[in-house]
Assembly symmetry: C2
Homo-oligomer: 343 residues x 2
Amino acid sequence: MTPNTILDIVKECDNFIYYADNPTEYITTLQTHYYAFKVSNCASILGYIPASLIPQIPWNPETWHIDHESHTVTLTAPPPATNRSRLLEQTLREVGPQISLLRGWRNETFPVYGPSQGEVLLEIERCASALFGIVTYGVQLLCYERGRPAATIITRECPSDEAASASGGGNSHPIKLWIARRSSSKQTYPGMLDCTAAGGLPTGKSPLEGVIAEALEEASLPESLVRTRLRATGCVSYFHVRGPKAGGETGLLQPEVEYTYEMELGGAVRPSPSDEEVEEFRLWEVEEVLDALRRGEFKPNSAVVVVDFLIRHGLLTAENERDYVHILPRLHRRLEFPLCIYR
Amino acid sequence: MTPNTILDIVKECDNFIYYADNPTEYITTLQTHYYAFKVSNCASILGYIPASLIPQIPWNPETWHIDHESHTVTLTAPPPATNRSRLLEQTLREVGPQISLLRGWRNETFPVYGPSQGEVLLEIERCASALFGIVTYGVQLLCYERGRPAATIITRECPSDEAASASGGGNSHPIKLWIARRSSSKQTYPGMLDCTAAGGLPTGKSPLEGVIAEALEEASLPESLVRTRLRATGCVSYFHVRGPKAGGETGLLQPEVEYTYEMELGGAVRPSPSDEEVEEFRLWEVEEVLDALRRGEFKPNSAVVVVDFLIRHGLLTAENERDYVHILPRLHRRLEFPLCIYR
């Protein structure tokens, strides 16, 4: 397989068509293959449900209005959010085993935000979020080290001293990244490469609380260390169409916002697996990371976080990456849905 | 005046309407108030010229085709780029004194890129770029320091010790920024606040060459220092409509890409004015910077670079900035024009 460009990798994550690139295809795709998801008395489209799934969900007419003409699914249940959430859950519980994603029920919900001032309109069971194509939020943490003199960098994980080849963007010590390999038994993206720790943000958890929890659960990094060293660096956003590597249904729309964090480690501190999610952590040279990115070995939304890191640290630059100015807007797509506002 | 939110500040720079927010207004605005700028045998729109300027430019019919029906200005001169550039310059030289921007002729050109593989279609005199609404490129450098213990931070510029109030995002030492004030005699944005050094990228200059030159010319920072400490951190992009603060014609469209750089300083090294462009440099607390941003004291495209810096360094976070997830996409707008590709 021909190695991909970095822009190709980013496009694999942000792979829903842009209106400006082909207005007709954009509109036809959404109107033909999807039903818009709405709640009554709110004009905003909150997500998109694949048309193929509509007949498989038992829409109770007391709770739902399905308009096959305009391709719209409206939750007609009145507020408060708890009422809407309860009725949505009831519907999902009645879905048969034919929708495989719902077999991964987690008893954890994601919030769905409305258009004014970040109010939560309803909550939805996590495993169902992709079916409804709502915007979901997550956190991603990348830990890194700055290379030390040759004598000290010889470890089991990184026995050779090729580190010097990667320039650390204005720093004399080359950067290395703590990359995780996902367990081969994971339901989604088994065996693929990942950031150091990552996870979805369920209802009520702030991004900071989320990243602290994931760092501990996935990488055994204690809260006290994380609170001292963590740096928030922004967020990436993209509009993903779920492909076959993900496992489960394909063609689902997944507009996502991932809050990004980084943390410099060194000395004896290192991430280590603490649950079944991660197979191994290894300290990777930047060149190794770039090769793995190009070969498509990273989970798509981890790849974009790594690319964002490499740009932020001056390791991908306007001079060494031809598509530089095309990459950054695709890492920060403006999602045409109501989004989270923190109050 | 009510202080603005950070999102308001970003919207003042990225102030051209989005298609998705109002498709009708977007299309009407471009089709009524502007003429699309094209070259023959290339389908891409390269920029937009205000309709009000069309009668003021002596379009030689041997070089130009003006279609008042479709609101299109086409440079019909054949390639190579040098030929197109020469004929465009000839036209601009014949414009009378009624277009004030052209009085600032600089004998420096900006490249205009085509849609395939970053070929340069033509070059355009720098002061005319905004008239044609083409995408321009620039560099912005922010220098910063990490606060030191109280005893050493007492300088003429920063006599008090309130630095500790600003948290440096995972670093125990608070960050301070080297902010420039533009000379009150500057043609554009006189007296406003700026990054440490910035400038446009004329034809043939790489972003790295550009930032090294600007750091020396505007801030007296020697090349050897910059080459060692500089870190490339990405680029911001936005679609600006020129307002009255800029000086000169208003309503001009300015889609721009600014390559961003940062550099940590400390000790005796500090920026100092070396030409008439900058009135003074001062080391600012983060809280002071935020206040000045909210009061609208920064030049619009310097403000967005500062906001990007504050996010990257964990000083604006999801928890302390309510519009966090709305800000980042507007700092990285996808511009619907052919863009630079480095080869």
